[in-house]
């Protein structure tokens, strides 16, 4: 996912931020995404089963909603963490 997010940041920012500055954010987003994948494997199966048992079919939608919110968190946390790292590096240099 790292190359996709690297390109996404550069493309959506219309090339105004150099590739080099975006790299930490892309790497961290990729790492967080991988972490979300691992977390999903342990968390979502049991959650979907228990939610659908408690709430019916809409329970599975709750789980998908949680997954989408987690994707949003991963994207923002990755971008912010990388940008903060780059800013700190620029201040030190």
């Amino acid at each position: 996912m790292t190359p996709f997010f690297w390109w996404t940041m550069h493309f959506l920012l219309a090339g105004r931020v150099p590739w080099r500055r975006l790299l930490p954010s892309a790497i961290l987003t990729g790492v967080f995404f991988a972490g979300l994948g691992v977390f999903s494997e342990f968390y979502f199966s049991s959650t979907i089963i228990s939610d659908s048992r408690t709430y019916g079919t809409i329970g599975a939608v709750f789980s998908i909603m949680t997954w989408f919110v987690a994707i949003g968190a991963v994207i923002i946390l990755g971008a912010v963490a990388g940008a903060t790292w780059e800013d700190r590096k620029a201040k030190v240099a």
């Binding site: 959506l12 049991s46 979907i48 939608v61 987690a70 949003g72 940008a83 790292w85």
Partner: protein, 192 residues
């Protein structure tokens, strides 16, 4: 006037607790000093500046109301099952995948006015999600918002995202099918 011989018990208690409190205050001050000007403080400040919790919820809700129906419509037109892809991405086991299959059971779509209208709305919603992502990145990297000038970029990004999702599904499906193949005698139930 004679002062009553009354002693407030609180100062005594405070005096007794002073060393513990002093240590606590010292630890707090040390933690605060360590946090001040640190990378963690910059990170938290940046998260506050972009309204992290609001953005996450809005982004998640946007994905739910736009990207998910888009995927379902695309899968209906492509005669391809979306539940397999979602199960693959969520890393679901067989029982949870069964629930997903039940959730996304749909007939192949035909192009009529209602479908076309919903497709337009779904595309607009997906554009909103892409725009929200663009604005998040602009805030994070301190860039001005380009407004409608960046519209073509959003459209291209959505097209590329669809291609990436389709590619991952095509690549991921054989792997998943392989993992689902029973391994002969080891998967069969014992006769007893």
């Amino acid at each position: 006037m004679v002062q009553p011989d009354h002693k407030d018990p609180q100062p005594v208690a405070e005096q007794e607790a002073t060393p513990a409190r002093r240590a606590e205050r010292k630890a707090l001050a040390a933690a605060r000093n360590r946090f001040e000007g640190s990378l963690a403080q910059s990170f938290v400040r940046q998260l506050k500046a972009i309204d992290f919790s609001d953005q996450v919820m809005l982004f998640g809700a946007g994905l739910l109301v736009s990207a998910l129906p888009l995927l379902i419509l695309l899968s209906a037109f492509a005669s391809n099952r979306v539940d397999d892809d979602i199960s693959l991405r969520l890393g679901l086991d067989r029982r949870a995948s069964g629930i997903m299959t039940h959730l996304f059971t749909s007939a192949p779509a035909t192009l009529n006015v209602a479908t076309a209208t919903s497709l337009v709305f779904v595309t607009a919603g997906t554009l909103a999600v892409a725009s929200s992502l663009q604005q998040i990145y602009e805030k994070v990297f301190h860039q001005d918002h380009r407004g409608l000038r960046g519209l073509h970029r959003l459209l291209i990004w959505i097209a590329v995202l669809c291609l990436v999702v389709v590619f991952q599904s095509v690549v991921g499906r054989p792997v998943r099918n392989l993992s689902d193949v029973p391994c002969g005698p080891c998967s069969s139930p014992s006769p007893s």
